[in-house]
């Protein structure tokens, strides 16, 4: 366990030192948030009734922007991708550590450390702008539920990310998998449009998929669309997916490593 904590620590240290990246991404997140909120404002102006109110949507989008790197499945783990491409994976295989655990730990740290740098400035800015565009602060219970659900979401994201990385052993370039992954995960996780805006039947099916257990669940809890029993059962689903994805990933990894070939030099 200590070795995982230690790996987590060095990943965090590694991630916390890129200042320009942090400043750039804070600005991008803030501008992106405003654009998205204005788009939804226009939709709500049409006068139709949606499953989410405009103010709920605004909160959803702000929290999404603040935690976007935490919920991001793809593009966060350049070092893991590079280690497969350039063969330094050979070193990781010669460590007395399970490669699944090694990668999963790194995936979590890779998401937590930039989020720690980014989230506060975005959250503060988002609370300062006028209502109804503002990020609302819900009651304490909701905040706690949100935090727990976010930790669960991070594990689901990590488990999906490791599965994506395992597929890289089978392909020459991960570009294709990333394009597919980004589209599928982004869409089904409510990354583009919150799931309550979808037709009801579609929504029911999608909310059972592991992708909904990433960002959709905690964000809907925070914005107040998912409350009480629904919130708890959605979090139960998150736990279910964590167990399934990690077990599956663990066996897939062990199976794959038997036929891994590290080429050259």
């Amino acid at each position: 366990m200590k070795s995982y904590l230690s790996l987590f620590r060095i990943r965090m240290i590694n991630g916390l030192q890129y200042r320009a990246v942090a400043i750039g991404s804070i600005l991008t997140r803030f501008c992106w948030g405003i654009m998205e909120i204005l788009a939804f404002f226009a939709i709500h102006e049409s006068g139709e009734n949606f499953a989410m109110t405009f103010s709920q949507t605004a909160s959803y989008i702000w929290m999404q922007q603040a935690f976007i790197l935490m919920y991001n499945v793809i593009d966060n783990d350049q070092e893991i991708e590079a280690s497969i491409n350039n063969g330094s994976i050979a070193y990781q295989l010669a460590l007395p550590m399970n490669l699944y655990g090694n990668w999963f730990t790194q995936c979590l740290a890779n998401r937590l450390s930039p989020t720690m740098l980014n989230c506060l400035p975005v959250l503060i800015l988002a609370m300062l702008i006028p209502a109804p565009y503002r990020l609302r602060l819900p009651d304490l219970n909701t905040v706690i539920l949100f935090l727990v659900s976010t930790v669960l979401a991070l594990d689901v994201v990590g488990a999906i990310a490791v599965l994506m990385h395992i597929t890289m052993f089978y392909t020459i370039s991960q570009r294709g998998m990333k394009i597919i992954g980004r589209a599928v995960v982004g869409f089904f996780a409510g990354g583009l449009i919150p799931l309550p805006y979808f037709p009801e039947i579609f929504q029911k099916v999608v909310s059972l998929l592991p992708f909904a257990s990433t960002q959709s669940t905690p964000l809907l809890i925070y914005s107040g669309s998912l409350t009480g029993k629904d919130a708890v059962s959605a979090m139960g689903l998150q736990v279910f997916w964590i167990a399934v994805l990690i077990t599956f990933g663990y066996y897939a990894m062990n199976h794959t490593l038997k036929r891994v070939v590290v080429q050259g030099g």
Partner: protein, 324 residues
């Protein structure tokens, strides 16, 4: 103790002809070629030995090292390192070995070297006292004190390589695999690394498997040499035997003024420049002292040097002989 018994490993490599048409074709049909990287390879290495593992590029050196490290699973055959089968008891096995791949890095690029070392300490569960002791010792031997607080990206190649070699020794491995540890290093760093490897082997009785293309490494460090080519072990013996195997000729370089000396039986003219001859001499036919006397009688000698054929040349001759 490393045992390697009838290990075979084949790779499947995608092939295609050059050009746009073939690139499109390969989207639908891929042609593969099977390459035998290791073909029934057997050898064993005793504890505390330093083995030089040589062979041309693509001979199967790295493949066998990766099998011994547990990174690759062979198609057939048995390999035991310290009594363990590397790819089956990977976790227990890797605790006893250390690996340096000269062409890759195991240090974290953007953090100080010492952070990488501490991560290794925790991964190998090295207790604090032993870690301190080993770190101090390595710091002294490899002169690392200035380097430990520097991020790996700011180190020169020589400095980084010293750290890379220290890293796998923190946990006192019984076997150390060095895959081209001196690649790209300058002369001073190479000598420092060689001396260090010798010290470690002498002090800690660490078994060392060294693969390299630098014959000076082999000459300085190893007594026993394994030559591999086309996935087969071609020669297994000590360096002197290898030299005998190819040639016992001496190389005589003569500088002279006056008339050009004639060649006697047993000598072979390699090169003749203005006032300089390079001769290879078979000492069984004509002893070295006689040869020099014969030449000296014919001309005024300015300078004579007698050398063995270099290891470099021996190996080149071996590669040629075995057509690898």
């Amino acid at each position: 103790m490393i045992e390697f018994q009838s290990i075979c490993k084949t790779y499947r490599v995608a092939k295609r002809q050059a050009g746009f048409k073939n690139a499109v074709k390969s989207l639908f049909f891929r042609e593969y070629e099977t390459i035998r990287a290791l073909d029934d390879v057997s050898f064993s290495i005793a504890d505390g030995d330093i083995i030089g593992y040589i062979g041309p590029n693509g001979a199967g050196k790295s493949t066998s090292v990766k099998v011994m490290c547990g990174i690759l699973t062979p198609d057939s055959g048995i390999c035991r390192v310290n009594g363990k089968i590397p790819w089956q008891e990977r976790a227990a096995h890797v605790k006893d070995i250390g690996v340096v791949f000269g062409q890759r890095s195991q240090l974290w690029w953007d953090v100080p070297v010492i952070d990488s070392f501490e991560l290794l300490r925790d991964m190998y569960k090295i207790d604090e006292k032993r870690y301190r002791h080993n770190l101090d010792e390595l710091t002294q031997l490899l002169d690392l004190s200035e380097l430990l607080k520097t991020p790996a990206r700011n180190l020169s190649l020589g400095q980084r390589m010293r750290c890379e070699i220290a890293a796998p020794l923190l946990h006192d491995p019984k076997v150390l695999f060095l895959d081209e540890p001196t690649i790209g290093l300058d002369a001073v760093s190479k000598i420092a690394v060689r001396q260090f490897i010798q010290k470690i082997n002498a002090q800690k009785h660490t078994t060392i498997v060294l693969t390299t293309h630098d014959m000076m490494d082999i000459e300085a460090l190893t007594k026993r040499v394994l030559l591999i080519g086309h996935g087969k072990i071609l020669l297994d013996g000590n360096l002197d035997e290898l030299k005998k195997h190819t040639s016992t000729d001496k190389k005589i370089t003569v500088k002279y003024t006056g008339s050009t000396p004639a060649i006697s039986p047993g000598m072979k003219l390699n090169e003749s420049k203005e006032n300089q001859l390079t001769i290879s001499l078979n000492p069984h036919i004509l002893p070295v002292s006689d040869a020099i006397a014969i030449i000296a009688a014919q001309t005024d000698l300015l300078d004579v040097s007698v050398t063995d054929v270099s290891t470099e040349e021996v190996v080149a001759a071996l590669y040629k002989e075995y057509q690898v």
